[in-house]
C-alpha cells in the first residue's frame, strides 16, 4: 500500500495550476516536492489534504480514496503550511486540546502527548501564554505540535522552515527525520534546496503544474548529466529546460 497515490490530478483557477499530476509516495519515505514559485506545489498539497477540490484525478491516502471518503483520509494526515495555522488568542495547551479534539485523540493520550511535544519544542514554559505574543518561530513550533499531536501517518509540510532561525530550523528538521525513522511519511516543499538535498529520500520537481522529474538525487544528477552537481545545480538545469516537462512526463 502506498502512503500517497495521486493520479491525473488537475486544477485550474484563472489558468491551469496543476495539470495531470501523478505522484506515488511510499510509507516511511521522506519526499521533497520542489519547483519554482507558482509551479503548483501548494495547490497540489491543498488538494491532497482536502482544502481544494480537484477538477480531475484521484487521490488515495494509505489506500483510502480521499475524494470519496475525505474524513477517513484526513484522519491520517497532518498539514503544516508556511503560515502557522494557530489561533493567536489561545495558549499552546488550549490549541493542542482543540486540535486533539478535532482528530478525536482521547483526552488522556492528548494531554500526555501535548506535554511531551511542548517540552520537546521548548514551549512548555510558554504553555499558559497566548500565542499572539509569540515570535514567528514559536508560532511555527506550536503549529508543528498541533500537526503532531494526533500522530499522523502522513505529515505534509509546505515551506515549514520559512522565517525560522537556525536553531529552530534545526530542531524542526531533527523532528522530521525522527518521524521518518519511526516509520512516518513526510512530504516537504521547500525553496531551501540544501535542506532537501540533505533530508529527503526522493525528490519530485514540478513546473507549470506538471511533474517534470522525479527520483533520488543521483537519479536527477544522471538525468541532467551532472555527476557530482548539487541539487541546486540540478534543479536549475531541469527547470531551465523548456521542453523537459513534455520529455519527462512519459516515463512518469
Amino acid at each position: 500500500m502506498t502512503a500517497l497515490e495521486v493520479r491525473g490530478l488537475a486544477k485550474a483557477f484563472s489558468r491551469p495550476a496543476v495539470q495531470g499530476l501523478d505522484l506515488t509516495i511510499a510509507p516511511g519515505e521522506f519526499y521533497g516536492l520542489l519547483g519554482p514559485n507558482g509551479a503548483g506545489k501548494t495547490t497540489t498539497l491543498r488538494m491532497v489534504v482536502g482544502l481544494l477540490q480537484p477538477d480531475a484525478g484521484s487521490i488515495r491516502v494509505f489506500g483510502v480514496d480521499a475524494l470519496a471518503d475525505p474524513i477517513a483520509a484526513k484522519r491520517q494526515v497532518a498539514w503544516l503550511p508556511d503560515e502557522p495555522l494557530i489561533y493567536d488568542k489561545l495558549t499552546p495547551l488550549e490549541f493542542l486540546e482543540f486540535v486533539a479534539g478535532l482528530w478525536g485523540v482521547p483526552a488522556s493520550v492528548a494531554a500526555a502527548r501535548a506535554e511531551e511535544l511542548l517540552h520537546r519544542l521548548d514551549l512548555w514554559d510558554h504553555r499558559a501564554e497566548r500565542c499572539e505574543g509569540f515570535s514567528r518561530g514559536m508560532k511555527q513550533k506550536a503549529a508543528l505540535a498541533g500537526a503532531l499531536i494526533h500522530d499522523p501517518r502522513l505529515l505534509i509540510l509546505d515551506e515549514p522552515l520559512t522565517g525560522l532561525d537556525a536553531a529552530i530550523a534545526r530542531e524542526v528538521k531533527a523532528i522530521l527525520v525522527e518521524r521518518v525513522r519511526a516509520g512516518g511519511t513526510v512530504i516537504l516543499t521547500t525553496h531551501i534546496l540544501e535542506v532537501a538535498e540533505r533530508l529527503v529520500d526522493r525528490i519530485g520537481i514540478i513546473q507549470h503544474g506538471r511533474l517534470m522529474a522525479e527520483g533520488t538525487l543521483a537519479d536527477l544528477r544522471g538525468r541532467v548529466g551532472r555527476g557530482d552537481g548539487t541539487l541546486e545545480e540540478v534543479f536549475l538545469d531541469l527547470v531551465a529546460t523548456p521542453d523537459s516537462a513534455a520529455e519527462t512526463r512519459e516515463p512518469a
Binding site: L52, R75, L85, K89, G101, A111, E129, R130
Partner: protein, 487 residues
C-alpha cells in the same frame, strides 16, 4: 504636488482609504447616487419642516445635531486613532524615509478626520443643501462647520489614544480604547435624548433655559451650522487650532507610541497553578474553543455596546410605558439577545485558522453546529434568566419572552451563520465580499437589526394576546430566508 509635503502624503492616505472602499464598480456608484438622492429627499422634508416657523428653536436643534454628530465622530475617531497606533501598516516605510516626521501624523490624522466625517456629512449635508434650496443659503455653513468639528474630535481622540497608551500601557490600551469608543457611541444615544431627559427643567430646544457662558459654548456649534458668521469663525479657528496644536505638539509622542505598540512584548505568563484538563467529548472542546476566542476578541465589548445602544434609546424614550408594563420592558431582552447572538455568530464565523478545521477529519456540519451552539447559548442563558424573573408577574409573560427570545436568537444565528461557507477560499470570499457587495452587507446588517426588533414586536403583541403576533413571526421567518442568501 511636491513629494514629501503634507498635501502629498494626505493624497496618498486618502487614495488608500478610497481604494479600501471598493468604489470601482458601476453598481456601487449607482447605489451611492441613489442613497444621496434619497437623503436629499428626506433632507428636503426636514429642511422644509424646520424652515416653517421653528426659527426660535433652530439654534437648539442645530446644537443637538452638532452634539450628536460629534459624539458619533468621537466614537469612530477613537477607534481609528487606536487603529492608527496598532495597525503598523506603513510606519516602518514612512519613518525610515527622509520624510519630515512632523508631516506624518497630521496627514494620518487628517485622513482619520475625513473618515469620521463621512457618515454625519452624508446625513446632515443633504439637509443643509435642501435648506439652501428653500431659501436658507446660510445653512451651507455646515460644509465648514462639520469638518471643523471633525478636526476637533479627531484631535481629542488622538490625545485620548495617547493618554490610554501612557496610562494603561501599550498592551491594554487597545481594549480600553475600544471601550472608550463604545462609550462615546453610547453618549450619542444620550445626546439624542437630551430634550426628553431634561424636559421642562431646562428648555434645551430654544435655549431659553440656558444662560451665560455655558449656553454660549453649547449653542455655538449649532449657530455655526446655521451660518452665524462669528460663531462659524470662532468654531473653525478654534477647531483647526486645536488640531494643529495637538498634531504638532504630540505628533512625535504618538508615533513613538505606535512604534512601541509594534515592539510590545507580551508579559511572561505565570506558570499555571492548575493542570490543564483536556476534554474528551468533542462538543465541549469545540464550544470551549469558540467561547475562548469570543471572550478574547478585542472588539467584542465594542460590538456589543454598539448593538445595545438602540436598546438604550428605547429604554430612555419609553420610560413611561415601561413603568406601566414591566413585562414589555423585560421583552427588551429579545432583541438584545438576538443582536448579541448575531454578533457572536459573526465572531465565530471569522475563524482565524479556517484551513486547520478544513483539514480536520470532521464533517463541516458538526463544526458549524458547534459554532451555532457557542454563539446562541450565552444569549439564551440571559433570555432564560429574564423569562424566569417574569414568572412572578405572569406565566404567559415567561412563555412569551422565552419563546420569542429563543426564536430571535436562533434567527440571528441562523441568518448569520448557518448556510455561510466557513473555510478556505469560500470563507475568504464571504469575509471579503466581491465588488459591489458592500451595499448588500449594509442592507443585511439593517435587516438583521430590523429582525431583532421585529421579534420584540412579536413578543409585545403576544403579551397583549394579539393574533397579529403570528403574522409578524411568519414574516420574520421569511426574513431569515432572505438573509440566508449568500452575498
Amino acid at each position: 504636488m511636491t513629494a514629501g509635503t503634507l498635501p502629498w502624503l494626505l493624497r496618498h492616505e486618502l487614495r488608500l482609504a478610497i481604494r479600501g472602499m471598493k468604489l470601482s464598480s458601476v453598481a456601487v456608484w449607482l447605489s451611492l447616487l441613489a442613497l444621496v438622492a434619497l437623503f436629499h429627499v428626506i433632507g428636503g422634508f426636514i429642511a422644509f419642516g424646520l424652515g416653517q416657523g421653528a426659527h426660535a428653536a433652530l439654534p437648539g436643534i442645530s446644537a443637538m445635531v452638532a452634539a450628536l454628530a460629534s459624539c458619533f465622530m468621537a466614537g469612530t475617531a477613537v477607534y481609528r486613532a487606536m487603529d492608527t497606533i496598532y495597525s503598523r501598516g506603513d510606519y516602518d516605510l514612512l519613518l525610515s524615509s527622509p520624510l519630515a516626521p512632523g508631516v506624518i501624523l497630521p496627514a494620518r490624522a487628517l485622513a482619520v478626520a475625513a473618515g469620521t466625517l463621512l457618515f454625519p456629512a452624508a446625513i446632515i449635508l443633504p439637509i443643509a443643501n435642501m435648506g439652501a434650496v428653500f431659501g436658507h443659503a446660510n445653512w451651507l455653513a455646515a460644509y465648514l462647520a462639520l469638518p471643523a468639528l471633525a478636526l476637533l474630535v479627531t484631535a481629542v481622540a488622538l490625545l485620548a489614544a495617547l493618554g490610554l497608551v501612557r496610562w494603561v500601557g501599550v498592551r491594554r490600551a487597545r481594549v480600553a480604547g475600544q471601550a472608550l469608543a463604545a462609550v462615546t457611541g453610547f453618549l450619542m444615544a444620550l445626546a439624542g435624548q437630551i430634550p426628553h431627559l431634561v424636559g421642562v427643567r431646562m428648555n434645551w430646544v430654544d435655549g431659553s433655559g440656558l444662560h451665560g457662558p455655558l449656553a454660549t459654548v453649547l449653542l455655538l456649534p449649532g449657530r455655526a451650522l446655521l451660518g452665524d458668521p462669528l460663531a462659524l469663525a470662532i468654531l473653525v479657528v478654534t477647531c483647526a487650532g486645536v488640531f494643529a496644536g495637538v498634531t504638532m505638539r504630540w505628533g512625535p509622542a504618538f508615533i513613538a507610541a505606535a512604534t512601541a505598540a509594534a515592539g510590545a512584548a507580551t508579559p511572561r505568563a505565570k506558570a499555571p497553578r492548575r493542570v490543564h484538563r483536556f476534554q474528551d467529548a468533542l462538543g465541549p472542546v469545540l464550544r470551549r474553543k469558540e467561547w475562548r476566542l469570543m471572550a478574547r476578541h478585542p472588539q467584542l465589548a465594542l460590538l456589543l455596546f454598539q448593538q445595545m445602544s438602540g436598546a438604550v434609546i428605547l429604554v430612555i424614550s419609553m420610560q413611561a410605558q415601561w413603568r406601566a408594563e414591566p413585562l414589555v420592558l423585560m421583552a427588551l431582552v429579545v432583541p438584545v439577545a438576538a443582536l448579541a447572538a448575531g454578533t457572536l455568530a459573526k465572531l465565530a464565523l471569522a475563524d482565524g485558522a479556517a484551513d486547520l478545521i478544513g483539514a480536520a477529519p470532521m464533517p463541516a456540519q458538526r463544526l458549524r453546529r458547534a459554532k451555532v451552539e457557542a454563539a446562541g447559548l450565552p444569549p439564551l442563558a440571559v433570555v432564560v434568566m429574564v423569562a424566569a424573573a417574569a414568572a412572578p408577574i405572569s406565566l404567559w409573560g415567561t412563555l412569551t419572552i422565552l419563546s420569542c427570545g429563543i426564536a430571535a436568537s436562533a434567527s440571528a444565528v441562523v441568518s448569520s451563520l448557518w448556510v455561510q461557507p466557513m473555510t478556505g477560499a469560500a470563507m475568504q470570499q464571504m469575509l471579503k465580499p466581491r465588488k459591489g457587495a458592500g451595499a448588500k452587507v449594509v442592507g443585511r446588517t439593517l435587516l438583521e437589526t430590523l429582525m431583532s426588533y421585529g421579534w420584540m414586536a412579536a413578543a409585545v403583541l403576544m403579551l397583549h394576546h394579539d393574533l397579529y403576533a403570528v403574522l409578524v413571526a411568519g414574516g420574520l421567518v421569511g426574513l431569515v430566508a432572505i438573509l440566508r442568501t449568500p452575498l
